[in-house]
């Protein structure tokens, strides 16, 4: 390099988080290496692995009602989970730096109580708490709550936005010299008056994460979130999503670095590319049992297909547009279009029902040698398809170990991942400043 040439721009640093697997059909529960997804040692193992790998945070999803299919409790997927904030408070005892993120619905909680629980976690963990704000609005889930199924789809993000703003008023309500000041919030969804019982937390505010994809969801994230958890994990879709969301920030006086975009991704490693592909195909097969394949089909067709042979061809009949077998799942927008696409694929490649389902639903993000995976993740981040990744292993609780042992050192060699934690709070891992106090009036500074 000649003395006059400019120094190359520093490479973007990758953020990593660990998603605790379970409560879905991607967890391979029949594997001999698959352990409990409820007992605390499983959570402790995955969290310690993530911390050993210097990850930004550990992530727990949420479901508030067991899913049902044909009016009966769904029994094929991993099902059952503990309550997130309680698990994370316990994990604060067995980790030191790792961020601790809980998914908690803004629809079936109240700002005062949840703000207090999150601030408590932030104190008990020394500034490592995060809240993934989700917006459940179906009456099916509502049947477990005083609130019931009252909330319109249109109102879920206005409630979520006001919820977060109210929580921030509470988190900001203690003065710099440690005195509580009462708040008086009066809004469309909430009236909250009184003193918060918890001092300002170690990172100012717990980190706010958003997961949801509609225009309203993206706008809410742009105005209020620190991190987005997205499903757009492909390079092209990722770049489009990234550009769209980052483009919304200026309107709120925010800079692109203020919001980190982290897709949920899977990974499969092998000593050679071929071995990784083989292993990945085997995992997909195990994720889609014959029973799972028929169930996936019924979800699209909306009718009972239990008489079909999973190893035979797809049904000729068209889906029932009014048929609704599954509850607690995201609804498929245009069942006929999906069915036509599946049938075309099946005909073109000569695939059975099960093979078709494997082909269309088995999304595996990073498959290859550790070198390949590290290089592709780096390329994704350097080309603004993401700021980092939320890794979803397919085994509980040991599924993250190979990634931490084999891929993390390569990312460090590339100079795109930390070799030690530089701070102790989750905000510092994410490179986010501590929020300024708003003087108890809420909203962003």
């Amino acid at each position: 390099m000649s003395p006059t040439s400019p120094t190359p721009p520093p490479r973007k640093q990758i953020h990593l988080a660990a998603h605790f697997p379970g409560v879905n059909n991607t967890t391979v529960w029949a594997d001999p290496g698959s352990g409990s997804h409820i007992a605390f040692p499983s959570f402790a193992h995955l969290a310690r692995t993530a911390e050993r790998g210097l990850f930004d945070f550990f992530f727990l999803a949420e479901g508030l009602r067991l899913r049902e299919h044909k009016g009966r409790i769904h029994d094929l997927d991993v099902v059952g989970r503990p309550e997130s904030l309680t698990v994370l408070s316990a994990l604060a005892a067995v980790t030191e730096r790792l961020g601790l993120a809980a998914t908690v619905s803004a629809t079936f909680n109240e700002p005062y109580e949840l703000a207090r629980r999150l601030a408590s976690l932030d104190h008990l963990s020394g500034g490592r708490a995060a809240w993934n704000v989700v917006t459940t609005s179906d009456a099916f889930t509502g049947e477990n709550f005083r609130r019931g199924g009252y909330l319109d789809r249109a109102d879920r993000y206005t409630r979520a936005a006001e919820f977060v703003a109210t929580a921030r008023e509470l988190w900001d309500s203690w003065t710099a010299d440690g005195q509580p000041r009462p708040i008086a919030h009066q809004g469309e969804h909430f009236t909250v008056r009184g003193e918060f019982t918890v001092p300002r937390s170690p990172q100012g505010h717990p980190v706010v994460i958003q997961a949801g994809d509609s225009p309203e969801g993206r706008e809410f994230a742009a105005s209020a979130a620190d991190v987005i958890f997205t499903r757009h994990s492909g390079a092209e879709a990722g770049r489009a999503f990234y550009a769209d969301v980052k483009g919304r920030l200026a309107r709120y006086g925010r800079r692109p670095g203020d919001l980190k975009i982290m897709p949920g991704v899977t990974f499969v490693l092998g000593d050679t590319a071929a071995e990784a592909q083989e292993h990945a195909a085997e995992i997909r097969r195990r994720q889609v049992s014959p029973q799972q394949a028929l169930l996936a089909l019924e979800q699209v067709w909306g009718v009972d297909l239990s008489a079909y042979d999973p190893d035979g061809p797809l049904p000729d009949i068209d889906p029932d547009p009014h048929g609704e077998l599954a509850q607690g799942r995201v609804r498929i927008a245009d069942p006929k279009a999906v069915a036509d696409k599946w049938r075309a694929l099946s005909r073109a490649k000569g695939l059975s029902i099960r093979e078709t389902v494997i082909e269309t639903t088995g999304r595996q993000s990073f498959v290859g040698t550790a070198q390949d995976v590290a290089a592709r993740m780096d390329a994704f981040v350097q080309t603004d398809a993401a700021d980092g990744f939320i890794l979803v292993p397919h085994l509980t609780p040991g599924g993250l170990d190979p990634f931490v042992d084999r891929v993390v050192p390569l990312l460090q060699e590339r100079g795109v991942f930390r070799t030690a934690y530089s701070g102790s709070t989750l905000r510092s891992h994410l490179g986010l400043p501590e929020p300024a106090r708003t003087g108890g009036r809420g909203g962003r500074p």
Binding site: A44, D75, R81, P82, E83, V87, E110, S120, Q291
Partner: protein, 354 residues
Amino acid sequence: MSAPRPPLRLAVALDAPPGSGAPVPYDARHFVALARLAERGGLDFVTLGDSFARPGLDASAVLARVAPATEHLGLVPTVTTTHTEPFHVSTAVATLDWVSRGRAGWAVAVSTTEADAALFGRRPAAPPAEVWQEAGEVADVVARLWDSWEDDAEIRDRASGRFIDRDKVHHVDFTGSSFTVRGPSIVPRPPQGRPVTLVEVPPAAGPADAPGAGDTADVSDRAVREVAAAHADVALVRADDPQTAGAALAELLARARALGRDPDLLLVLASLPVELAGPADAAGLAELLADWYAAGAADGFHLRPADPAHDLALLVDGTVPALRDRGLRRPGRPGGTLRDHLGLPRPASRYAHA
């Protein structure tokens, strides 16, 4: 011939009494140090109070943070039922039981103040009798949710591809006066089956036709005792003398019996404030507890130290050894769970028949 009396149960409050002027702790280390001290003393459980308007951290979160830092100690946070969602209450306590491997309980509490109601803005404050009646419904549905997964619901049956046996997971379909819950829980049945339910009851039990009956305070006192008799595994009674405590115990057991419960499944602990100047006080306290216990005033004691850090050390090093010397506390532990410590059996799920 009667069976030998079980050892007296012993618990302690980790929080300083309100109005004591002690600084409010917000650091996990403070609670871990106290809990480890209590564990060293072989106490059955600790309580941590809570209310939405009281300065301090969420008590369940604190005791979840303490769980991995302790091995044997029972952990009992106060959980309010008035402005909260019964479904969330059930899953949080069940999860405390999972993370502590069977050492969780909860002390049922209510909010009656306008100040608490204003923090939620959902409904106005209601009279104590009303919120206690609701608390009883919450305790009921919480236990039903704990039972909603039978113990062996998770089957991982590779042949049929089924992870759970859906016939062992049940909707609870509960309808209370102010809420309904469809169920089942999202949390599998916790290690103790049902974590231990505590209710603190007022001491004096005036007969229904006594002068002043019908006063708000009296009606609400009766409502609390109804909840304790119907739903508690452990009732705490604040009393100044063994006669009052013994009368409360007898009355609670009579109510429980009238509700068709086995009175052996309801323990009554006398809840006493303690302030110990030195080792002599600690030994004196052991003598007092032994006397109350001999008089049949209680199944054990819940001690509320004026200064937890200071008093707990004296309790652990003075009072507990003195009780042991008298044969009132056993040196080891009979099992791993809080129910084991208390001598309470693990209940079967009410849905498990067939």
